[in-house]
């Protein structure tokens, strides 16, 4: 046995290690860049095998994607369940701190409601169908109904309703990760706060005539919902020819729901009620509204008269 050889081996490789260690330690100080602490935390948990199995450039790349883009947290195969749980706990803390969101389908173009332009016989995928002159639906903005969003959901929080041909989100299971939003080629899937009830079930930015030709329940851009006496809070604003709800402003939007000529405002609470109940509620509201309008009219009239009287008195 040759001791000098062992010593040479020890020293030479040891020195390589020491030099590299020193350089790296120094570099990590000099070249330090501030990053989101969450990214660092997740990167810490990931196995650092940098194998690329997740499809992202290395563990830190994946950590960054999870935090900034809301990527699926289950992609790390070397880490297994342990890592998923830990990331979930980090991201979970964050999710409750912010506002919990759920996905919804901003289209009510069921098989009955929306017309088709032609029959489509391609691969049954939304992203394929889009390539054939924007899809087979007469409406350029509506749901194509092949359920790519459902496939994208890793939480089992969505299913396709066979009857309507539209995706349905199960609010209890939805974590608001936005995977379906990214999957949809028509941008029909959107996110809304979990505690809000009403959403606009139309995505069409087309003009009124065009919309009513292609869909029974499409928004024609009449702007009723944005009028001050419909939504005094100003929570609904037009963006082009489509109203958008600002969920930051508190409003029950009941007036908009009943006033919308195309019934584009959908109340999630209605799903549990029977048709009669809904009809009754609507009738009640209409009566109340009529009363209110009458009262308002009367008040306005009185006000005008009072003003007139004051004017006359002043003269």
């Amino acid at each position: 046995m040759d001791t000098t050889q062992i010593i040479t081996a020890f020293l030479s490789v040891g020195l390589i290690g020491a030099i590299l260690g020193a350089v790296l330690a120094y570099a990590s100080k000099v070249f330090h860049v501030e990053v989101d602490p969450k990214v660092e935390k997740i990167a810490e948990i990931l196995p650092q095998a940098n194998c690329g199995a997740c499809g992202y450039p290395g563990c830190s790349g994946y950590a960054d994607a999870v935090v900034t883009k809301g990527t699926d947290i289950t992609l790390c195969s070397p880490g297994g369940q342990d890592v998923i749980d830990q990331i979930a706990s980090i991201m979970g803390v964050e999710a409750t701190a912010g506002k919990a969101m759920v996905a919804y389908c901003a289209c009510n173009g069921t098989k009955e409601n929306a017309k088709d332009r032609f029959e489509y016989y391609g691969p049954e995928k939304c992203s394929s169908a889009v390539f054939v002159s924007g899809g087979h639906k007469a409406c350029d903005y509506g749901c194509l109904g092949f359920g790519e969003c459902v496939e994208a959901c890793t939480f089992g929080a969505m299913y396709m309703d066979e009857k309507t041909g539209l995706p349905v989100v199960i609010d209890e299971k939805c974590v608001g990760c936005g995977a379906c939003v990214r999957a949809c080629p028509k941008d029909v899937m959107k996110l809304m706060p979990k505690d809000s009830k009403v959403y606009i079930a139309c995505n069409s930015k087309a003009k009124g005539k065009e919309v009513s030709d292609s869909c029974k329940v499409g928004c024609i851009g009449c702007k009723i919902c944005t009028l001050p006496n419909t939504t005094p809070s100003g929570a609904v604003k037009m963006e082009g020819d489509l109203p958008v709800i600002n969920y930051e402003l508190p409003d029950d939007l009941v007036a908009a729901k009943y006033k919308c000529p195309k019934s584009c405002f959908i109340d999630k609470g209605d799903a549990e009620k029977s048709a009669e109940e809904i009809a009754k509620e609507k009738a009640d509201w209409k009566a109340a509204d009529a009363e209110k309008t009458a009262a308002a009219k009367k008040a306005a009239l009185e006000k005008a008269e009072a003003a007139k009287a004051a004017k006359e008195a002043g003269m």
């Binding site: 290690g17 590299l20 260690g21 790296l24 330690a25 990590s28 196995p47 650092q48 095998a49 940098n50 194998c51 199995a53 195969s77 070397p78 880490g79 297994g80 342990d82 890592v83």
Partner: protein, 207 residues
Amino acid sequence: MNKLQNFTKGFFKENPVLVLALGLCPSLAVTTSIENGLGMGMASTAVLVGSSTLVSMLKKYIPGSIRIPIFIVIIATFVTLIDLTLQAFIPSLSESLGLFIPLIVVNCIILGRAEAFASKKSVLDSIIDAIGMGIGFTIALVLISAVREFAGTGALYGYPLFQLMGIEGFKGSILMILPPGGFLTMGLILGFMQWNKVRKAKNTGGK
């Protein structure tokens, strides 16, 4: 998770190659014959067990910020040990595996296991996990190489089955031994795994 589950999960349920799709380079490159596949699987298992044990033993003394370089050094040490051992005692295997013995170092399974499991769990658990994963890796390698060897040369573990039975003619297609065959076999096996998964999901979903 109990110890037995921990041991057997790598065989099939969390098979590193077939389910997790890790360590693909060796599982395609050396699987031209069962002998090579088995040799590679056992060499990797040995490295995996050695490095997992050591990492798990030293986990308290390794500073977090340079743990990765230290893990790499530990793994590289075991790989070199195996390399030297093979050269000295099983030279034929050493020659046919060639470049891919030193490349065990960069097999994601080993570093992944060291970081994700051994650096957190007890020594015994780490050893059990490492052996289980190693066996899973070996199973996958043997499976792939069996398909390729048979389709490529008509032989299994060096025994020409058809000729032994007196049937001449089937000599296999060289293509299966060549790189395209490796990719093809891998694709088909992974496809089969997925088919199985989809079928199971449908069965349970249907009820």
